[in-house]
Amino acid sequence: MYKILAKQELAPNVKMFEMQAPRIAKKAQPGQFVILRIDEDGERVPLTIADFDREKGSITLIFQEVGATTKLLGALEAGDSLLDLVGPLGKPTHIENFGTVVCVGGGIGIAPVYPIARGMKQAGNHVISIIGARNRDILIYEEEMAAVSDTLYIATDDGSKGQKGFVTDPLKQMIAEGKKIDLVIAIGPVIMMRNVAEVTRPHEIPTVVSLNPIMVDGTGMCGGCRVSVGNENKFACVDGPEFDAHKIDFAGLVARQRMYVDKEKKHSEHCVSKKVGGCKCHSH
């Protein structure tokens, strides 16, 4: 069993767990993820390691309640335990002194960008970060990102915080101004990562994104997370999750992510009708 040490609500439906996981904390590197299972009937769900504390032996997970499993997860409290937690999985982010690195985080994707930005800063890079969300209420990690970035841009769809628009806007602006960018790292919704890739592609700026396909085992034994990269099939769980954004078949990725949309609805309905695990997620 893996204990939840602390829980915090970062934004509506966005929760943070600090998990007791000494083994994972000892090995975790920015860019890696874990797979968890809540209970006996639970499915295996991948979540990026948002942070880790080697001394305390804990890792931080941040998730958005989007379906039955994340809602069940969100209903757990500090002191509760998860049945299974395995990691760190996937390849770590390649961190070195590239020069100027732009770290882009969208929505909940800001959380996994944070340790990468921190690592890039520690490696001596000039770090420019762009974070964005639909509105100010769901913008997370603003202070944390400011602390590890030389410059921080904020964009919200409705303009309620920072500049109105998308995270691609400050990026386009920098490129237009002729700023030298050595690497862009973007994590967020697929549509956002694809848009970032399209902005940097004509300028041949190396761009890395972290993919979030459906996974089962997370150790390379099933190929459920396969994605076409440069016309070659890769398993995101072992070959990634980070890949060269200019080589990814984003359309294929989006289609595969939608494979179980109907089934997920059915699972949610089942959980509501059964109130599985004392789920409190439907009271608000």
Partner: protein, 466 residues
């Protein structure tokens, strides 16, 4: 004394009924049938059956105990060398192992050795067998076993019996390897697998799940930081092969590993009670002709598919699956579309709609001795289907090899290990099972685990002056 030339028939669930449920197909012998089958054994002194068993079960002795009605003595005798008899009795290809050498097989049907082993194991389990805990000395050598499939579990049991402190590391959340995620519930009920593994725990074997060696620890860390004196690698052949044809990433296309893992390990057949979904349409095509293909096809049927095809590029005689599995699949209504090879998965709006195939004919024998399938020009056709399961084989997962310095692998990525001892190119590290041989059978993996345990013990004896 007149001897029946035929095995006593083992009761089975009716084919029509069972094709719609996940309950075990074969129901097993009762006491009377078991006794009658045991009576068929001639108790020959030479016992040729034993040379067909990779773990050398004393077959005539355990059968003699069943004859005498002392089933507890029978299971004790089997467990001297085999700690997974309920598994072996169910999934070993006995026709190629012990039963192949039975003297009765020359004139009729061999003694049902597998069925009797299964009977003894089930009897012991349901009657509540007592397992003797083995207390290793506090300073006994420590062995880390990587993976918890048949090779690893056998090695773990043997080493624990010899007094070593054994820890098994498993990447998934339940131990058992292919016994849990691969072989379906209707051939090998999962509570039986866990009961057999629990017996190993009672003996003193420690099992740690959610530990991915290569990520959570490396092999070198196990020895240098975690204090293990030797390591056995039994990580199997769990890397699925894809065909490399267009359309393979469409929704509705699964590797057999994913399809079976969702169903067996994650219990997707109980969805939505179980949180893991699975997609099965009306018409399913399973590509391949081995046991994994049969398992996937029969699973698809039980998940509600109306029509399930086995698509195989050679003919019926070359099907690598066990005859019994092919027979069961046919009884249940699986359609065999033979001499047929897929060339493209067709789709619409991201989902599979059909499998474009080409007809084949058999040409000259190839390097493997089997007649090579050759395409018949212009014979392309489309098999209408909404689910495709690819069961064309698996390779070794590279996670351990790629993170272990000094571990020699071959061209295919398998670990190079001595056939007799399992010794690898790296000191203190041994390997066995599918990770060395490529995908084979449960019992061969167990044989390799047993041999390696012997060699590891000898090595530790030398090293620690035991």
């Amino acid at each position: 004394m007149s001897l029946s030339l035929k095995k006593n028939v083992m009761p089975e669930q009716d084919a029509k009924m069972r094709a719609r449920n996940f309950n075990e197909v074969a129901l097993g012998y009762d006491d009377e049938l078991a006794r009658a089958e045991a009576e068929r054994c001639l108790s020959c002194k030479a016992a040729p059956c034993r040379k067909g068993c990779p773990v050398d079960v004393d077959i005539p002795t355990f059968i003699k105990h069943i004859k005498e009605g002392d089933v507890e003595a029978a299971i004790a005798s089997i467990k001297e060398v085999n700690r997974l008899p309920a598994v072996c009795g169910r999934v070993c290809p006995q026709e190629d192992q012990c039963e192949k050498f039975c003297v009765l097989a020359k004139r009729g049907e061999a003694v049902g050795i597998g069925r009797l082993e299964r009977y003894a194991a089930d009897y012991a389990r349901t009657k509540g067998e007592r397992i003797q805990a083995i207390e290793p000395a506090p300073d006994a050598p420590r062995v880390a076993i990587i993976g918890s499939g048949p090779a690893s579990l056998t090695a773990a049991g043997e080493l624990a019996k010899k007094g070593c402190r054994v820890t098994v590391f498993e990447a998934l959340h339940l131990p058992g390897g292919v016994l849990m995620y691969g072989i379906p519930e209707f051939r090998l009920p999962k509570d039986i697998v866990q009961a057999e593994i629990d017996n190993l725990r009672k003996m003193g074997v420690e099992i740690e799940v959610n530990a991915v060696i290569g990520k959570t620890f490396t092999v070198d860390e196990l020895m240098e930081e975690e204090g293990f004196d030797a390591v056995f690698i039994g990580t199997g052949a769990g890397l699925p092969h894809f065909m490399g044809i267009p359309g393979e990433n469409l929704n509705g296309v699964y590797s057999a590993n994913e399809f079976l893992t969702r169903c067996n390990l994650m219990k997707a057949y109980r969805f939505p009670e179980s949180g893991t979904p699975i997609h099965v349409g009306k018409k399913v095509a399973v590509v391949g002709g081995g046991n994994v293909a049969m398992d996937a096809a029969r699973t698809a049927l039980r998940l509600g598919a109306e029509e399930v095809h086995i698509v195989y590029r050679r003919s019926e005689t070359e099907l690598p699956a066990r005859l019994e599995e092919i027979h069961h699949a046919k009884e249940e209504g699986i359609i065999f579309t033979l001499l047929t090879a897929p060339v493209e998965v067709q789709g619409s709006e991201g989902w599979v709609t059909g499998l474009k195939c080409i007809r084949m004919e058999l040409g000259e024998p190839d390097a493997s001795g089997r007649r090579r399938p050759v395409e018949i020009a212009g014979s392309e056709f489309v098999l209408e289907t909404d689910t495709v399961v690819i069961a064309i084989g698996q390779g070794p997962n590279p996670l351990v090899q790629s993170t272990t310095k000094g571990l020699e692998t071959n061209k295919k990525g398998n670990i190079v290990a001595d056939e007799e001892t399992g010794a690898t190119s790296k000191p203190s590290v041994f390997a066995g099972g599918d990770i060395v041989t490529g995908a084979a059978t449960v019992i061969l993996a167990m044989g390799a685990g047993k041999k390696a345990a012997e060699a590891i013990y000898n090595y530790l004896k030398e090293k620690h002056k035991l």
